[in-house]
């Protein structure tokens, strides 16, 4: 039982990263219909941002947790204005290629300066060590990540469900043309929404810095899984992305714990689940079929 709970907890922690990243992707896809391949690179930049700020300027983790997402929001908005919005009227493939290209450029720029080795980043003093959860001890930092990610997801959900901005975002996501015809300048929200999505990626990156190896390719592997998570949850579905993120995190952890004789299962389970979900519900678990414009 203890082992089960422990692996469930570990799964929820990696699920927290999936959920935060999938949430950003879903918000961006909903409003812009852009599959942002550069999301993994923004996550990586978030982690490097925290590392560089600490190593070069002594900026502590807590400050980085605020500053880095803001900086990534600005970078995201600049990239959206400069490149992405020029392509949104064309075939979605163009933006897929564009953001893929941006990923390669961002990765190589970081590689050029910091190499491919992992850079160490220590958890802030208050979050080192472990806490007693009754049946087992669990690293404090991981407990913090879990709580923080859940709070962020709940906060985003609340903003979408209960605020006027959230209502406009839902309307524009569901039926962009109708929403414009009802007097709402949908275009005005596009850039901030993209910035918000990249900020979430940056936030996940900062959170990852003390726990994962900080290197230029850290986002590249992760983002493939996150794409599968988004598809499982239903492209553009906020709730689906978050639920699928935590679900896949747990499924991977259980497969690692109980099918350790077959490591291939844990590595591929996300894609197995994706294939099964697509077979059963092509729009994803919580997705709806494309509505008319």
């Amino acid at each position: 039982m203890t082992a089960f709970l422990q692996s469930t907890f570990n799964g929820l922690v990696s699920g927290a990263f999936y959920a935060l990243l999938a949430l950003g992707l879903a918000v961006i896809f909903g409003m812009l219909r852009v599959v942002n391949f550069a999301h993994g690179a923004f996550y990586m930049l978030g982690a490097f941002g925290a590392y560089v700020l600490l190593a070069e300027a002594g900026v502590p983790f807590w400050l980085a947790l605020v500053v880095v997402p803001l900086a990534l929001a600005l970078l995201g908005m600049a990239l959206e204005r400069a490149f992405i919005h020029r392509l949104t009227r064309l075939d979605p493939l163009y933006n897929f290629l564009l953001t893929f290209g941006l990923t390669l450029i961002l990765q190589d720029l970081v590689k050029l300066r910091y190499g491919v080795q992992s850079s160490p980043y220590e958890a802030p003093a208050g979050l080192r060590g472990s806490v007693d959860l009754g049946l087992f001890d669990f690293p404090t930092y991981r407990v913090f990540i879990l709580g923080f990610a859940v709070a962020v997801c709940v906060g985003v959900w609340w903003a979408l469900a209960r605020t006027r901005v959230g209502m406009v975002a839902r309307a524009a996501t569901e039926r962009p043309e109708l929403t414009r015809a009802l007097g709402i300048n949908v275009g005005r929200w596009i850039t901030p929404v993209f910035g918000f999505g990249t900020a979430l990626a940056g936030l996940a990156g900062v959170l990852a810095a003390p726990m994962r190896a900080v290197n230029p390719l850290m986002g590249a592997d992760l983002i493939i899984v996150v794409f599968a998570v988004v598809v499982i949850g239903g492209l553009g579905s906020i709730f689906g992305s978050v639920a699928a993120g935590f679900g896949i995190g747990m499924a991977q952890a259980w497969a690692e714990a109980y099918l350790s004789a077959f490591p291939i299962v844990a590595q591929t389970i996300v894609f197995i689940v994706m294939a099964a979900v697509l077979f059963w519900r092509p729009a994803g678990l919580f997705g709806r079929a494309e509505a008319p414009a």
Partner: protein, 230 residues
């Protein structure tokens, strides 16, 4: 209020409107009748700024709409009632009503909408797409009245509705008219059209081929119905 001159429109290579001319005076209710594919909905979409391939002049209250975006046009007082009723599944009934900004001098309050439509009030926290077809139509009309739109563009608001509900749509349009709202209505139901409208335009193959008063539509009803294929 609305003046359309030499309006032509295309879907790719196919021309769907050819030099259409029409006008709607302030406070008038005018219908557009015509067969399926005559270009009625395209004409409404051009006025709303939702159709990209068009040429000609569209003026609202003397202002040329030119290349104004749809949201700017809505804020000039155009109220959009689309043919599929335009209910949002991800918004509650109240949110559907309060989503658009108020744009006119005389918007309906939410209380007034709910007083007029107790059924909407009862379902105010439900997703709008769970309403019946008739309720969704009332919602679409109530939404543009709550905006305070001065000119409504309604695409077949009675389509698929039971007679009692058709009557309710008529009552609502007549009440809007009493408050000075102007309406351009695409309608296949001639009986309904003559019960709410002042004048009618017949659209055929993208051209305005006739402008008729109510009396003329009534006297030519049989001929028109057979022409429209109803």
């Amino acid at each position: 209020m609305l003046r359309i001159e030499n309006l032509s429109a295309w879907y790719g290579e196919a021309q769907v409107l050819r030099d259409a001319d029409l006008h709607v005076d302030p406070g008038e209710v005018v219908t557009l009748v015509g067969r399926n594919g005559a270009g009625k909905s395209t004409l409404l979409r051009c006025v709303m700024g939702l159709h990209p391939g068009w040429r000609g002049t569209i003026k609202l209250g003397g202002t040329a709409l030119g290349n104004l975006s749809a949201d700017r046009r809505a804020r000039l007082g155009l109220g959009w009632v689309p043919d599929d009723r335009g209910s949002y599944a991800t918004l509650t009934v109240t949110e559907n009503l309060t989503l658009p900004p108020t744009v006119g001098p005389d918007p309906w309050s939410l209380e007034r909408v709910y007083e007029a439509f107790p059924a909407l009030h009862q379902r105010r926290k439900s997703a709008a797409t769970t309403l019946s077809g008739g309720e969704q139509q009332m919602l679409a009309l109530a939404r543009v009245l709550r905006m305070g739109a001065r000119m409504l563009l309604c695409d077949e608001p009675t389509e698929g509705l039971a007679p009692l509900l058709v009557q309710q749509v008529g009552d609502l349009l007549r009440e809007a008219k009493r408050h000075g709202v102007t309406v351009l209505l695409v309608e296949q139901n001639l009986r309904f059209a003559t019960s709410v409208a002042d004048r009618h335009y017949l659209l055929a193959e993208g051209r305005v081929t006739a402008a008729m008063e109510n009396s003329e539509v009534r006297s030519r009803e049989r001929e028109l119905l057979s022409y429209l294929g109803i």
